[in-house]
Symmetry: C2
């Protein structure tokens, strides 16, 4: 019997995108199991390393679109696991700065190396990857406007 | 000061895709607040309606890539909210069939109408939307292989 698809075109693309995101997260979490690293923690390692300097918890919260409390919990766990360090900013003592430890850097570079998501992306041609990036950038911009988020949110990449 | 981006190219696309997925979910949840509907519940309304017939909890689990227990909880909540009905299959009594109630259909069509995610997607040209769909399809296929998922998983769309 054939399926009755009455579905809206936009809703279909949306569902596809969420499914791909779910697959990415599942693959990453499976690979990170041995390190006991969640997908969000891997995200944070990646962002802290990419931004490189003066990373505060507030900045991370804006980057990963979580509540400040939830970011604080994740950061605390990551510090216990020896992946990040929280140091006081010397000029502004109330401001905490997050940096990667040597172990954090090692875990991140391992994560990037064995990332099965790279195998997923390798199925796209270079031109398709470019198109995908362009589309995602436009969607992000539009989504940020839709939610009235400050341009500081999800600043990067 | 400029940022030191040492980031892997694939990891960057991955992060962008997850950010867009987060934005989609946030927008949808904001819109569904008045109906007390989670993003996953909206997904389920959409899938049950799209598949149309003989939808079982197991089928939904495969579609949304959740654990069976977690699907069961969500379905129970949705039944309490009057969005879906669980009926016993007359031929195979141990098999439960899920259908939308009139209220479920109404909530879904409202969700599709006011979906701010449509505004996001409207920023893409028709050609870009097509490219995006092609890329997502290839990524889904690749991700399914990577995780050794049965072809029945995430069957649709």
């Amino acid at each position: 019997m054939s399926r009755q698809i009455k579905a809206d075109k936009n809703y279909t693309i949306l569902t596809q995108l969420l499914q791909v995101a779910d697959l990415f997260v599942k693959i990453r979490e499976r690979e990170m199991l041995s390190q006991n690293l969640s997908s969000t923690a891997a995200d944070i390692l990646f962002l802290v390393n990419a931004i490189g300097h003066d990373v505060t918890p507030a900045k991370i919260t804006r980057m990963i679109l979580r509540e400040p409390n939830s970011t604080a919990c994740i950061l605390m766990r990551m510090e216990k696991q020896g992946l990040i360090k929280r140091t006081k900013n010397m000029e502004r003592k109330n401001r905490i700065r997050i940096t990667l430890t040597a172990r954090g850097e090692k875990v991140l570079s391992q994560a990037m190396k064995k990332d099965g998501t790279a195998n997923m992306l390798a199925r796209l041609t270079v031109a398709q990857q470019k198109q995908l990036k362009t589309a995602l950038k436009a969607l992000k911009e539009a989504g940020r406007k839709e939610l009235h988020l400050s341009p500081k949110m999800l600043l990067w990449p």
